[in-house]
Amino acid sequence: MELFKNVENGFIEMIFGPRWTYIATVRTFLQNFLSITLADNKWADVISMAASELLENAVKYASDEGTKISVEHKKDENKLFLHVENFSSKENIKILLSEVEQINSGEPQEVYLMKMQEAALRTDGGSQLGLARIRYESDAFIKVDVDNDLVKVTVVFDLK
């Protein structure tokens, strides 16, 4: 086991099975922890909301055990990186990549409004609002990395 002496950049990592019941626990923990670490309740609220939305997607679309969430605060850049990793099917990965491309392509408020109008017509259980909501509420950048069936969604919050 290694204990780092350099704690310049804060880091949290949690790994658990894709279970809905963990989401609220992780959200509450992050909100409490970040409100102390960042000394900013608004960012703590926004980041914990984003974590909750990403974890909901991870649980809904997981194809296998294992969900990892990590939060990295780079103090020198004043940026916070939120990563959520899980395994998913090729079909769901394709949908996710297309969603992220669409969400990053437009002005956050316009894209969110368009997704809300689409959600009104959806008859399945999903809303497809989570990523657009994150981008609108935080102006964060969202990216996706894929390695076979492993998907890593990263949200970069500019805390300046």
Binding site: W20, I23, A24, R27, N41, K42, D45, V46, M49, S52, E53, E56, V59, K60, Q109, Y112, L113, M116, Q117, A119, A120, R122, G125, G126, S127, L129, G130, R133, Y136, E137
Partner: protein, 128 residues
């Protein structure tokens, strides 16, 4: 109990209560709405209210979120479904919403403001 005779929604983590007010009806949300699929719980409840509001020619519904600490995007979708039932109605059937939000809860200011953009002129926002 409200005059519509509609039962309140009480889940493990959230309560949604319907009550009568002098100028219409009030729906008060409290707790966390973060279930995986809130549609079977909330859509029928909101539909009952919508139908009774139309039947009784009520013109004002207040949605008080000030005690709601979390609302996931699937929960937002159930509200969108309600609001977008009102927008296509003829003028004489339409009713107005007032959304009451809590400035201490960050997502409320941003997410709830967006709901008003779905139905311009029909939704007033009060942030307290």
């Amino acid at each position: 109990m409200n005059s519509f005779g509609i039962d309140n929604v009480i889940t493990e983590k959230a309560t949604v209560e319907l009550s009568d007010i002098s100028n219409g009806m009030k729906v008060t949300f409290s707790g966390d709405i973060d279930v995986q699929n809130p549609e079977p719980i909330f859509v029928p409840f909101f539909e009952q209210i919508h139908n009774k509001v139309l039947e009784n020619n009520i013109k004002y519904v207040e949605l008080d979120f000030s005690k709601l600490t979390f609302l996931n995007s699937s929960g937002i979708k159930t509200l969108i479904k309600w609001i977008t039932k009102v927008t296509p109605l003829p003028v004489e059937k339409k009713y107005r919403f007032k959304i009451v939000a809590n400035s201490e809860i960050t997502w409320q200011e941003t997410s709830l403001k967006m709901l008003s953009m779905l139905a311009p002129g029909l939704i007033e926002i009060q942030i307290k």
